[in-house]
Subunit: 291 residues, 2 copies
């Protein structure tokens, strides 16, 4: 059947697929110096943020993405005091990071301030920790920022960006990984959203190779469902400077003092298991664990 | 953007969402006494079977569903010699079941013979084991068949049906579960596709309660991605007559003599881990394990 005007549709041409949500109204549309940002009120997914036609997040299922972008990396680090978020303008990842009492300072380097201002207006729950005195907001080019940041000045770097086209392309390349490697301390962890295991196994393998070439000791892929992203199956990659971040502070994850909806120590371990076809696709990816 | 005529779209009204695949041509359309079956050639997902407007399977990602409908249950049973498949007309589950050397006989009870004939014509790889002498095809009403089948005559029952509306509705109700319980032996396992954990947590909890009320000792939910089904996240439920089928023949799963694309012993264990919100939703579901 054909969808009427009351649907938002994201076509993913490379996958030959499209995902649509029924929309009640468009709440906002704005062309910033970097991109076009839209906010919709949907029928069943709450509010929806779209950038350049691609779904960024919905009220209904962003918890999965934001929890998986933050808690596995923070529990994999022995003492994650200093965190850098690259992108992350909607502030959902930041909120999860700030739940960790070990975190002393978070710098968020987002190129487009309007993403954050629009999130504050339309996704207030994601921004509810923005006044935390540990959080600092820079609206700047993260690639350049990472080139200039002091060596060993971060424990965890979270790359919470859009897809590897246009603005975010450089965030998926070896020179950026090399800068992250330098900025991370001896026990540092880099985490980056790594697209769909169904659609992008080649990209994931290339990311793992790039991280290995940039000096990371090993990487782990974590799988999770994400209804609003192409294929509904998404992933994040954790790379460690000292070792592949397979082990994590299991006891701390089990007795954490905050309540969340998706992540648990068991979920963390399960997410690292790669299905057979993916294990095979990642086997050529250098001195790196596929999960 | 609006999708043109060269897209097949399945709207899932309850979820307020829709999934579309780009189509090259419609290969077949047929109204049977039970339903309307269509087959499309898609651009990137190979062939696509649609029944009454709902996606049944695509060439590209059916391996995940069919492997997860068969191997976990068969490895959870100590000696799965006698298998019954309810529905399963596309024969993809049957093919996976027949990979197991312990299987001596499979009866497939599908109400609509045309599903199988169309699968033979358009999805020949799924039907490549249909001539196996261990397989027997009945085209009949499985609810009535189960009422009449002898007690203790099956080791594993696999309910590979459409959604719990119309034809398949009775397959999700306690009386059917009670018949399955009787037909299964002392160590029997029932496995049933159990819809989307994102959209149908209530239905899954009701299924688990119904299975408990029908005399099953416990149930386990297994999660997996399935791009072409609503939300892209799907599940299957295993219920055991003697115990919740949490443990399985791990050593056999690790050294199985056949090669597959998704399932492994590690995947089996990981799929049984429920995210926090789902663990909570399933806690009220009787003497049953949520994973």
């Amino acid at each position: 059947m054909a969808l009427g005007e009351d649907w938002f549709t994201e076509v993913y041409p490379e996958g030959g697929s499209a995902f649509s949500l029924k929309v009640l109204e468009k709440l906002h549309e704005e062309r910033t110096p970097y991109q076009t940002i839209e906010v919709f009120q949907t029928e069943t997914f709450g509010r929806l943020m779209v950038i350049d036609g691609c779904v960024m997040l919905s009220d209904r299922d962003n918890f999965i993405y934001h929890e998986m972008m933050s808690h596995p990396a923070l529990f994999a680090h022995p003492l994650p005091a200093r965190v850098v978020i690259v992108g992350g303008g909607d502030c959902g990842t930041l909120r999860e990071v700030l739940r960790h009492p070990d975190v002393e300072a978070v710098v968020q380097v987002e190129i487009d301030e309007r993403v954050t201002r629009i999130a504050e207006a339309y996704f207030p729950r994601l921004c509810e920790s923005n006044d935390d005195p540990r959080a600092r907001f820079l609206f700047d080019d993260a690639i350049r920022w990472m080139q200039e940041a002091p060596a060993g000045s971060a424990d965890v770097i979270i790359v919470d960006s859009t897809d590897p086209v246009g603005l975010a392309e450089g965030l998926f390349r070896e020179p950026f990984y090399r800068d992250c490697r330098r900025v991370l301390g001896a026990e540092g962890i880099l985490v980056q959203q790594s697209e769909s295991p169904l659609y992008h196994a080649d990209l994931i393998a290339a990311m793992h190779r790039g991280m290995a070439q940039a000096g990371f000791a090993g990487a782990v892929l974590l799988n999770f469902p994400q209804c609003v992203y192409p294929s509904g199956w998404w992933s994040t990659t954790l790379a460690g400077t000292a070792r592949a971040p397979i082990e994590f502070r299991d006891a701390h994850a089990r007795c954490k003092a905050f309540q969340i909806l998706y992540y648990s120590a068991d979920v963390h371990r399960a997410a690292a298991v790669a299905p057979e076809f993916l294990r095979e696709a990642l086997q050529g990816a250098g001195p790196v664990e596929g999960g």
